[in-house]
């Protein structure tokens, strides 16, 4: 293999794929990226962690010899980073080495054979549809914070996607860690009808979100089966992310979304967030609960810490129902409030022991459910 690639292109591509590669690997080939140069001038770079793979194509300045090889992802990325801007980088295999040349610098890197590189077998991906990249990015942003990191309930370690026929056909994305739930609903894209329920793992979500950052225009093509999902993004040459799906059953979350909460609190999310953040300053790790006292048109936020004293702040609000008190984990509350890009947020409450529904308004595609803390 011999190919010459512009340094900026190579660097951008490597920065995309190398984050898939785990820093510490005991299977040596998993530390490598696969580089494949074809005679038509396209170079494909691919990385995998066995559960997730990313393939990006770029146009080489020239491909003298078609071929493929694998080298250390982080090594090549670090080299590309340090090469002077504007240089042409030549990648050439010789014996079982790859020679990297740029300007006056020359590196010889160890390689592993291309055939050892594990490629995820996609199999049939019968469901295909497209979602605008910007919408997919918002969907991820609004839900990913609620993904569980607890490995015992592995089926919560991702975003759950499913279609439903509510008033109209919709596609819903939901994530929960058992304490809070985030759901984002969009119109069902053409082609998604009959789609199997799938759980996309956290790492795939994170990698996808990074890739979306650089190709917000256009659509993302999604192809999936009950066990695999593939996201194809535009951008130069295109990036394809393929991930295994979490093999498990997501709980029937709809039953925890309250429908009859009759106490409505409307408040400015920014001043509310700031208030929660301020009173939580004195909350120690053990008692990160913030208490909300609701009374006619005001909320009194308070925290009492056995070590650090206490704090209180009154936030003006729109509230007409009977007075009540309820406690929440300050961080959970802030996570949700940070999602609301509006002047008002609605909190629909029932009592101090029941789930609270939080949303921008009735028409908002995003909906949050937060379980209180005993205070």
């Amino acid at each position: 293999m011999k190919a010459t690639i512009e340094r900026a292109k190579l660097l951008r591509c490597l920065s995309h794929v190398q984050s898939v590669v785990e820093r510490r690997n005991t299977i040596p080939i998993l530390s490598n990226v696969l580089i494949e140069a074809s005679a038509d001038g396209l170079v494909k770079i691919m990385a995998t962690d066995l559960d997730l793979q990313v393939v990006e194509s770029l146009e080489a300045a020239s491909v003298e010899d078609a071929g493929s090889i694998t080298v250390s992802a982080h090594l090549l990325f670090d080299i590309a980073r340090k090469l002077p801007d504007g240089t042409q980088v030549s990648l050439e295999t010789a014996d079982n080495r790859m020679v990297v040349k740029a300007g006056r610098a020359r590196f010889q890197l160890p390689t592993l054979p291309r055939d050892d590189f594990p490629v995820i077998v996609e199999g049939d991906l019968p469901t295909s549809f497209e979602i605008p990249a910007e919408l997919l990015a918002e969907l991820i942003d609004r839900t990913r914070f609620a993904i569980s990191t607890e490995e015992t309930r592995y089926y919560l370690n991702g975003i759950f996607f499913h279609v439903a026929d509510d008033d109209k056909p919709v596609l819903k994305a939901a994530a929960t860690d058992g304490h809070r739930l985030a759901r984002f609903t969009i119109d069902r894209p053409a082609g998604a009808e009959g789609m199997p329920d799938v759980i996309v793992p956290r790492k795939a979500v994170a990698e996808l979100r990074k890739l979306l950052e650089e190709s917000m225009d256009g659509n993302v093509q999604i192809d999936l089966s009950p066990s695999k999902i593939r996201f194809t993004l535009g951008g130069e040459g295109g990036v394809v992310l393929t991930s295994k799906l979490i093999d498990g059953t997501f709980p029937d979350y709809s039953r925890v979304i309250p429908t009859g909460n009759d106490k409505l609190l409307k408040v400015d999310p920014k001043s509310f967030f700031a208030g929660v953040d301020r009173v939580a300053t004195i909350a120690t790790e053990k008692t990160r609960a913030v208490k909300m006292g609701l009374d006619t048109d005001k909320v009194t936020l308070s925290v009492t810490s056995p070590d650090n004293g206490n704090a209180a702040e009154e936030v003006p609000a729109d509230y007409r129902a009977e007075a009540m008190e309820i406690g929440f984990n300050a961080n959970y509350l802030k996570d949700i409030l940070a999602q609301i890009d509006s002047d008002t947020v609605e909190l629909h409450l029932a009592d101090a022991g029941a789930p609270t529904l939080i949303r921008k308004d009735e028409s908002s595609p995003a909906l949050y459910v937060l379980m209180p803390m005993r205070v």
Binding site: P118, G178, H179, V256
Partner: protein
Amino acid sequence: MSEGKTDSDEEEAAIGLRKIIHVDMDAFFASVEQRDHPELRGKPVAVGGSSGRGVVAAASYEARKFGVRSAMPSVTAKRKCPDLIFVKHRFEVYREVSNQIREIFLHYTPHVEPLSLDEAYLDVTEDIRGIGSATRIAELIRTAIREQTQLTASAGVSYNKFLAKLASDQNKPDGICVIRPGQGAAFVQSLPVRRFHGIGPKGAEKMARLGIETGADLAAKDADYLRQHFGSFGDYLYRAARGIDLRAVRANRIRKSIGGERTFSDDISDTDALRDTLERIIAIVWDRIAEKDARGRTVTLKLKYTDFQLTTRARSLPQPVADRQTFARLAREILEDELPLPMPIRLMGLTLSNLEREDDAEEERPRDDAQLSLL
């Protein structure tokens, strides 16, 4: 542009480098008996019933030299060690000592996860006594245990639970072992797989057939291979072989069930043999129930047939199972209902579930419990 950080780095960074201690009392029940009965010191002692159906609940180190192990039928133990002295268990005393050592742990950290009366995980990342090193804390705990209970404990110190537990086993009895960051994978790979939590004699046998003897052999297999041969357990093995374990130390872990099972070297089909086996399992499991002081309402019998098909049959009472007779009666009833079996079985197990802990009421609820659950 990405900064070359992988998601798992972020995950670990989010957890931060932790300091976990696993403390395990040495031959706990037997040591308590030897402490309280000086005439037993230096002699092979087994705690448990010596009668036909009895099983060894714990063996002193002197008895272990003869091959006596816990959960071994007393008859077998007696054959291996004719001078073995059987002592009736005194769970109230063990529980008292257990509370003493729990107090010692709590002096150094609120994050204590007891696994049973005689072992616990401690998260000492937050050094509340300002001692400066987890190893030093482990030594202080061991000293305090020796001074206050005249018993010895072994400790493992590392950066996750899996490694800490392996470490505590390394220099037993009365030993300590530290696995520092960066050493975990190497340590695990030098071990025979039998040492891994969750791999019993049968599992080890299966692995030996696949050419897996050590952690290093295990680490050489990819996740797909392990999943193919071990199902969901494969994912655990994949991580374990790399010394990875992100589970948190949970101070308020609530047990959902308690039980035990045995895989037989020869498949069992004979009705009398089945009944005998059930009695043995009743003995083993009831000891565990008594030790944990568990009160449960549901008894479940699990049978795995030679074709690996698994059936479970359960029976519940309106109130918790109060004594061994009731427990045994329910278990026998379930088995009798299944007889005759369609084919021989390779495994039998019993569990008690729907647990309510007797000490729930008096124990002060940990603060973590204040967060209410959605699911």
